[in-house]
Symmetry: C2
Subunit: 214 residues, 2 copies
């Protein structure tokens, strides 16, 4: 275990805690004071760190997600588990029927279960948008739905490129956790790009040049 701790940069006490909480599988004990850890344990520690760090999951939610990777269930169930762990728990009574109708209109033609946590989370955003006195004048909801569809297709293609259920299930979790953060970062970069094309550049931006230009 001290070797696993050194290789992964995770304190021994933390490794033991993860094992107690069901996040990390036990070692194959080869002797009373000897335990076997392999690359799978190192990789799992990295995943736990990403779930708790970038993904901001609780220990319980991370255990649920990891359990869904280790189960023999089809990959679709891993999707559900990851979505549920990363979403606030909302039901239809937490949002207005108007907001649900707006989300359903923006996603016309999509096959989505009524209880999909993303459908409800989007409806809550629509409600908040309205409460803030904002009106969707430029097709904001529809255009975000189009962007989300592009991203979801990229997600599913990335998953399909992996061989075997376990590798696919792990990519489901990684993509679900990291995808929001990746999009959020790229959107902020794109906002600067789009606005610099439309508005005179502020003085400090004089040094920016298009990426890829020499």
């Amino acid at each position: 275990m001290s070797e696993l701790s050194a290789v992964s940069g995770t304190p021994t006490a933390t490794i033991k805690f993860y094992q107690r909480e069901g996040l990390l599988p036990p070692s194959d004990k080869t002797a009373p004071n000897q335990a076997d850890y392999g690359p799978a344990h190192v990789a799992r520690l990295q995943l736990i760190r990403a779930l708790l760090g970038v993904g901001k999951l609780s220990i319980a939610a991370a255990a649920e997600v990891i359990g869904s990777i280790d189960s023999a269930e089809p990959v679709l169930y891993t999707f559900e588990a990851a979505q549920n762990a990363l979403s606030e728990h909302l039901d239809e009574s937490d949002v207005t029927p108007d907001a649900l109708a707006i989300v359903d209109a923006a996603t016309t033609g999509w096959r989505v279960s009524p209880g999909n946590p993303g459908r409800l989370a989007a409806a809550r955003v629509v409600d908040t948008f309205g409460a803030l006195g904002q009106a969707d004048e430029a097709g904001w909801f529809d255009r975000y739905a189009a962007a989300a569809l592009l991203a979801a297709e990229a997600d599913l293609d990335e998953i399909a490129s992996r061989s075997g259920r376990d590798a696919q299930a792990e990519t489901v979790v990684v993509g679900t956790v990291l995808g929001d953060a990746l999009f959020s970062g790229l959107r902020r970069a794109a906002q600067e790009h789009v606005s610099s094309g439309r508005h005179p550049a502020p003085p400090h931006a004089a040094s920016t040049r298009p990426n890829g230009a020499s």
Copy 2:
């Protein structure tokens, strides 16, 4: 103030706290025990609630964002303030040069300052993705960049549809805070839609039908 509290559903003590922290402008005192609050105060309380709630901002970050709405600076500066308040503070030393190169390649042609918080946040995701042993086999980064560009164009069009600097600045803040949550929800819904088209539906999904179908 008790009327403002009743109309907004915000306790008087909370309103006073927001005023002390610079989130809510003081009233125009019309008499020693009489203060004038108008619809602008009610609207501001809603915005504070959204920043602290859906946006998960700290009090200090919310004050910074609100200050950028109330300043006379161009709308571009409100963008920067909102981005900085909502992003983790990273600099180039927090990410690897390889990850930055991958982000810059995915955003080829974009005008983005090196210190754009989104560029650095995206690079951190790329680093985490690699540390988790994942490889981008299906153009995941490029396709997320395309999705982010669609969303940023929708953001800027939404802002341009507002009249006057103050309304635009407020939409900048609302869109920055709510956009991530909207996309994240819609992406989860789209994942169900895309995966149900590619994989046999699990039993519980038998009742779903395309939105808009009767």
